[in-house]
């Protein structure tokens, strides 16, 4: 799993590349820790190149979402594939995020 964070006009864009399984989620949790603190703006989670997500990965999404909610920020999930979409469906995440 590779994570790229870019600041654009839209906001902060976090690009996930590869499998966000449990070990990867543990690493990502540390990488994304600063984002949890600074969630007042718009955060775009770009999942175009993400092939797999586990509940640990979902947890990161949810934490970010909660943090943004508190600080008046916004989280957008972008470009999820069918497999991930079905996971979002099963967990009710489709309703929690703005999905583009």
């Amino acid at each position: 799993m590779e994570i790229k964070i870019n600041k654009t006009e839209e906001g902060k864009v976090v690009e996930f590349i590869g499998r966000l399984d449990t070990p990867a989620a543990l690493e990502a949790n540390e990488t994304l820790a600063p984002l949890f603190e600074d969630a007042s703006g718009t955060t775009i989670l770009d999942c175009g190149k993400m092939t797999y997500i586990s509940s640990s990965g979902l947890r990161i999404f949810l934490t970010l979402r909660k943090s943004a909610l508190q600080k008046g920020g916004k989280v957008i999930v972008r470009a999820i594939n069918d497999d991930i979409r079905s996971v979002f469906l099963m967990t009710g995440f489709l309703n929690l995020f703005e999905i583009q």
């Binding site: 449990t22 586990s54 509940s55 979902l58 069918d82 497999d83 079905s86 996971v87």
Partner: protein
């Protein structure tokens, strides 16, 4: 320590009994000796006393003979002189002059024999001081010789008469005795009595001084019982034996004694005098009727043996004391020895048990994978003693054969303990490490830390990938194994140091390939250094010649064992002997066993799941979308096990077994952690908004959603969760709901 006291007590009692027995024997023999010695001393005392008595008797007789002879020799002159009375005085003088034993002599005429001289008794005597011979007459009115015993008794005794001893008042208080004989005239009428006086003073000094024993003394009494010789000078001639007896307590014994003595008998008698026992030896002088006796205190007869007796007894006691200590020492050693034998038997039993335990630590021949077609192996371990320091081990994990062989320095129990530790470490470390170098390093570090006795282990560890034939190995100072393909040669190994010497050392790992029918032969120095009676070693050359290519492992090992046994012969086995033969077959037969994967409780292990699921999916024709979902469900379940089933810091596993049915596939996830039933977890509410959503619980929710059925059971201390996925054309139907 506990056994010490009974041994002491036991040895003391044994010793006392033996010493008492010895004392009894010694005492009995001493009594016999004493008895015979007493008898000997008694007879010696008798001999000495009787000898003295006889000697005295002879001397007395000699004097009396001389006196009698002097008288008889002058009888004819006296008879002749009867006609010349005035010459009678000369006769007496002549007798004295001629006979030194005679101190006085008289011719006393029978009153009235001469008409003119009614009494006539000229008497000559020797003045003992000057030696001058003096003469006087006994015919005085004061003396009145015809009334004296020596005169009256002799009148009727033709053979003469010895008078009672008497003290001569006239001439110097001498003890005297007189021999008198009648003198007949030609008509046969008794005319006079001729006498000779003999001094008995010499007798006092001679017999009185007889000292057969220091306190012995002599007594002589006349025929009337009057004391003649006696240590108490004042008794002489004043007292009789009867007088003395009257003053004694034990009168009866003395009565019979005096009767025997005075009646001329000889013999001996034991008497009691003033509380002491005394032996009285007595004998008569027949001619005069005197009785001689020697009195010897019994104490003195036996004093020597009594003194000796005490010394002997003292020596005996000392000897018995020494005997006691010697016996006790010996007995104690004997008992200790018995005790040691018991302990030895106990130890031997324990060693037998230990041997059994040790043998159970190494894989038995049944465990050498007879069901497998890719490997053929055999091993043997022969300890030189009950327990040994050699080890080998092997097992298959994830299609890889882990094996090792080792030799602990030294032999016997210490080596066996280190062997057990090494084997345990190998099992533990190799259950999760896949690198032989790493395995050896970890074992080495553990061993070095606890190695206080400077023992080391030569060790060879290998991992053979049964699918590919790749062999990775690491040698820690062990004998170089033999590599057998079309040829036989020693495996190329880096020697490295043995285990347990230096910690934190890195061990170089090596790699080679085994192809079908290749083999590796591992052994300990008990094989190459097996020694025969001539101190020749079995050696590598012999070993290599026994190994033959293209033979099964079991017969290779048996052939080697037979060869080395024949070579050693009667010589004792000097070292533990271990051999391990691994024959790689690589028969690519379809796997009959269930596909499965074992994951250690480290979160990184999750990454291995994807490949496994992919493989299973491919084989069962499951589409990638469903495979990914299955992967997710399994990941969630296994993550739970890894994170929560085992206490922090302990090792644990999660195993997944796959069973395929006609229309479904089962994944059985098992772990040995604490009991946990995920199916009993409450459903999460996925309709809640972001503020109210909880962070946890999603994993199990996902598994439930993805799988068609989930069942839990707790069996053999294991959590077993079976997840079932239906397999049909609409396999991903559920996940769309």
């Amino acid at each position: 320590m506990k056994l010490q006291t009974p041994i002491l007590r036991k040895s003391v009692w044994t010793s006392i009994l033996l010493v008492l027995f010895a004392a009894l024997i010694i005492e009995v023999s001493s009594l016999f000796q004493y008895f015979y010695a007493v008898k000997g001393l008694k007879s010696e005392a008798s001999l000495r006393a009787e000898g003295e008595l006889e000697n005295t008797r002879i001397q007395i007789s000699d004097v009396l003979d001389q006196a009698e002879a002097a008288l008889r020799n002058n009888m004819w002159i006296a008879r002749w002189c009867l006609d010349h009375p005035d010459s009678l005085e000369a006769v007496t003088r002549r007798i004295i002059e001629d006979n030194p034993v005679v101190v006085g002599s008289t011719v006393a005429l029978v009153p009235g024999y001469y008409k003119r001289r009614p009494l006539m008794a000229p008497y000559s005597y020797r003045n003992l001081d000057t030696g001058e011979i003096l003469t006087k007459t006994l015919a005085t009115p004061e003396y009145d010789y015809p009334s004296h015993e020596w005169f009256t008794k002799a009148l009727f005794r033709e053979r003469g008469y010895w008078s009672e001893p008497y003290v001569d008042e006239g001439g110097g208080e001498m003890l005297m005795t007189t021999f008198s004989m009648p003198v007949r005239d030609d008509s046969g009428k008794t005319a006079a009595i001729l006498t000779v006086d003999v001094s008995l003073d010499w007798l006092t000094s001679m017999f009185g001084d007889v000292k057969v024993y220091p306190s012995a003394f002599s007594v002589m009494a006349s025929s009337s019982g009057r004391i003649m010789v006696c240590p108490v000078q004042s008794f002489v001639m004043k007292k009789t034996i009867q007088d003395i007896i009257d003053s004694l307590e034990d009168k009866a014994t003395f009565d019979t004694l005096s009767r025997d003595m005075l009646s001329g008998k000889s013999g001996s008698r034991l008497v009691r005098y003033k509380g002491k026992k005394e032996y009285v030896y007595f004998a008569p002088v027949e001619r005069t009727g005197w009785s001689m006796s020697i009195v010897i205190p019994e104490d003195e007869i036996y004093s020597d043996i009594r003194k000796l007796g005490w010394r002997v007894r003292l020596l005996q006691i000392l000897g018995l004391c020494m005997l006691f200590f010697i016996i006790r020492f010996v007995a104690r050693n004997q008992l200790k020895y018995n005790n040691l034998t018991e302990k030895k038997n106990l130890m031997e039993n324990e060693l037998k048990i230990a041997s059994g335990i040790q043998m159970s630590m190494i894989p038995s021949s049944d465990a050498s994978f007879p069901e497998r077609h890719d490997i053929d192996m055999a091993a043997v371990l022969v300890p030189a003693r009950e327990v040994g320091g050699d080890l080998y081990d092997y097992f298959i994990r994830e299609g890889k054969l882990f094996f090792c062989i080792g030799d602990v320095s030294g032999k016997g129990v210490p080596a066996s303990l280190v062997m057990a530790v090494t084997r345990s470490l190998f099992r533990t470390v190799s259950s999760h490490e896949d690198s032989p170098g790493r395995i050896v390093e970890i074992i080495n570090n553990s061993m070095s830390e606890m190695n206080r006795n400077s023992m080391f282990v030569t060790f060879f560890c290998g991992i053979l990938d049964l699918a590919t034939g790749q062999l990775r190995y690491c040698n820690a100072g062990h004998n170089v194994p033999v590599f057998m393909s079309d040829t036989k040669h020693m495996l190329d190994v880096v020697p490295n140091l043995p285990l347990g010497i230096v910690s934190d050392m890195s061990f170089q790992e090596q790699e080679t390939m085994l192809y079908e029918d290749d083999a590796i032969f591992l052994y300990t120095d008990g094989l190459t250094e097996a020694e025969n009676a001539n101190h020749e070693l079995f050696g590598e050359k012999r070993m290599l010649s026994v190994l033959s290519t293209r033979r099964d492992a079991k017969s290779q090992i048996e052939a080697m064992e037979k060869n080395v046994t024949d070579f050693v012969g009667q010589a004792p086995q000097s070292d533990d002997l271990t051999m391990l033969f691994i024959h790689y077959l690589n028969n690519d037969l379809p796997r009959s066993n269930v596909p499965h994967i074992v994951l250690r409780n480290e979160i990184g292990q999750i990454s291995r799941l994807a490949g496994f699921v992919e493989e299973v999916a491919e084989k069962n024709g499951i589409n990638p979308g469903t495979a990914s979902a299955i992967n997710l469900a399994l990941e969630e379940i296994v993550t739970n096990v890894i994170m929560y089933a085992y206490p922090k810091g302990t090792e644990g596993f999660a195993e997944i077994k796959v069973r395929t049915r006609d229309d479904a596939i089962d994944f059985e996830v098992s772990d040995s952690g604490k009991p946990f039933d995920p199916t009993a977890m409450p459903e999460v509410d996925i309709t809640l908004g972001a503020e109210d959503r909880k962070i946890g619980g999603l994993g199990i929710h996902l598994a439930r959603k993805i799988m068609d059925a989930i069942s839990y059971e707790r069996k053999n201390d294991k959590n077993i969760l079976t997840l079932t996925k239906m397999l049909n054309n609409h396999g991903n139907q559920n996940q769309q709901n």
